[in-house]
């Protein structure tokens, strides 16, 4: 799939949570190597760890494997989220706090000793099976008005939803399903998505 992607710096590659659980940190190192090779320069790889405990250990290993960012759940204990952010700073990678199933992201951010670099507004894949659950785009502006963080939106799978995220001032749109379902259309899909979010 990586070989079919356009070599664009605006594409961030993500080692998804099931991928990491299947292959471990070595899987992250492999993706990093292939993406760097494709771009002809160091690429940005997100390790979607969804850290829930032992924040510092997981971050250190992901960074050693070449990740440029790692994710922690907003629903993790505040002790974990704080340690996670500190460790990301120490090893020099971006910290992303994933607000999946968090009704009030503001409350989570308000409890932290320091802010993460990125807040992920996220409707989970399983949640999307519930037709009534929409991506909470309304959180984007509220968070941006109060905190100096980047916003990533995940859970939107169509061009329309990716465009909607950017329209609502998200900085990163996370997609996967269309690429997974149609890997042979990888190049066209990626180019189309990049056009939507320019």
């Amino acid at each position: 799939m990586i070989s079919l992607l356009p070599a664009s710096e605006r594409i961030l590659l993500e080692a998804g949570t099931p991928y990491i659980k299947r292959y471990g940190y070595k899987g992250i190192a492999v993706l990093k190597s292939w993406w760097d090779q494709k771009l002809g320069q160091p690429g940005y790889v997100v390790a979607d760890l969804k850290c829930m405990d032992r924040g510092s250990t997981e971050v250190a290993l992901a960074a050693a494997a070449g990740a440029s960012a790692a994710t922690c759940l907003g629903l993790a204990p505040p002790e974990t989220v704080n340690q996670f952010i500190l460790e990301c700073q120490r090893v020099g990678i971006d910290s992303m706090v994933d607000m999946m199933n968090v009704e009030f992201p503001f409350e989570v951010l308000g409890r932290l000793s320091q802010l993460p670099n990125i807040v992920v507004i996220h409707r989970g894949v399983d949640e999307a099976s519930n037709q009534e659950k929409e991506i909470p785009f309304h959180h984007i502006q509220r968070i941006k008005e109060t905190y100096d963080v980047l916003i990533s939106v995940a859970g939107g799978e169509s061009f329309r939803e990716a465009g909607q995220a950017i329209f609502n001032d998200a900085d990163i749109a996370v997609v996967w399903k269309q690429f997974y379902d149609k890997p042979e259309q990888m190049a066209e899909l990626a180019t189309e998505f990049l056009r939507e979010i320019k």
């Binding site: 899987g27 190597s33 969804k50 405990d53 032992r54 993790a76 974990t80």
Partner: protein, 293 residues
């Protein structure tokens, strides 16, 4: 068919969190007691991948087998350095060809196809019949599933897990899907209530309750907030309402293990004493087993 938990029995779940080499050494020292459950801890799975579950199974089934030094499987003789290729060194060498040379063939094959690969580790089929009294181990894959529940359950089941964990803070849709997929695959579902203020509220929302509820004080919670205690009081509240087994995790000394059993927990999860192999491993395991009888 994976092992299932028996009602009325108390279990000691040993969480292995470091690396496969040390896990193998620790397992070889453990007593062969049916009350021991092995756990492929979240850090181990994220480090080594889901194949760590099948490796733990292999290590247990080959416990105590005396091949003689000359004929021991090569992986038993690996040094710690050989068992743990340096990820940083790999990256420094960067370049697809060099990484491709490193990637084991099972990973190459898996990366090329969508078919899951089951990693069997050493040839257990050849070894197991040599020891007729071997019982298959009960292995918990501590995936802490937060989304894509059916994928993760299937991945764990294919690797030989007897149980999988899901987070109690995960969306309801995920937990319900998780429990349903575990039932479909005849493995135990464990919902981990770490950072859940009221586990009963989560259980009430579920379509079907899980087989096991884990009351869990996290490692970071314990290290950075001395006031956080294990919620032993939730054990009876849950058992009064549901026919569920209760595991308690986060209390690692003998006193906390005693307290968990006194409060009617069915499974006590420990890891600190078993993080690295030592001469004390066997004695510690025996002592913990005495506390849970």
């Amino acid at each position: 068919m994976p092992q299932r938990l028996q009602r009325g029995r108390k279990y000691l779940q040993i969480a292995l969190n470091s690396n496969l080499f040390e896990a193998g050494q620790i397992i070889s020292s453990l007593p062969s007691d049916a009350r021991i459950l092995l756990e492929a801890g979240t850090p181990l799975i994220k480090a080594e991948g889901i194949s760590s579950v099948s490796h733990l199974r292999s290590y247990w089934l080959t416990k105590g087998l005396n091949f003689g030094l000359a004929s021991q499987p090569s992986w038993l003789n690996m040094s710690a350095e050989e068992a743990q290729p340096d990820a940083e060194a790999i990256m420094l060498k960067a370049g697809v060809e060099k990484l491709n040379a490193f990637i084991p063939s099972w990973l190459k094959n898996s990366l090329m196809t969508k078919q899951p690969q089951v990693i069997a580790g050493p040839n257990v089929a050849a070894i197991a019949p040599m020891k007729k009294d071997l019982a298959a181990p009960y292995i918990v894959a501590d995936l802490k599933t937060a989304d894509l529940a059916s994928w993760e359950v299937m991945m764990a089941e294919e690797a030989g897990a007897s149980a999988v964990t899901c987070l109690g803070v995960a969306p309801l849709e995920t937990i319900n899907s998780f429990i349903a997929e575990c039932q479909k695959n005849s493995i135990d579902s464990m919902v981990d209530m770490m950072n859940v203020k009221n586990p009963l509220l989560v259980l009430e929302e579920l379509t079907v309750p899980p087989n096991v509820v884990i009351l869990h004080r996290g490692v970071d919670e314990e290290a950075f907030n001395r006031e956080k205690e294990l919620p032993y009081h939730d054990i009876q509240l849950i058992k009064n309402k549901y026919d569920i087994l209760i595991a308690v995790a986060g209390g690692d000394d003998f006193r906390e293990v005693q307290r968990a059993i006194f409060n009617d927990a069915d499974i006590v999860v420990v890891w600190k004493s078993f993080f690295a192999p030592s001469e004390e491993t066997a004695n510690l395991a025996t002592r913990f087993l005495q506390e849970i009888r």
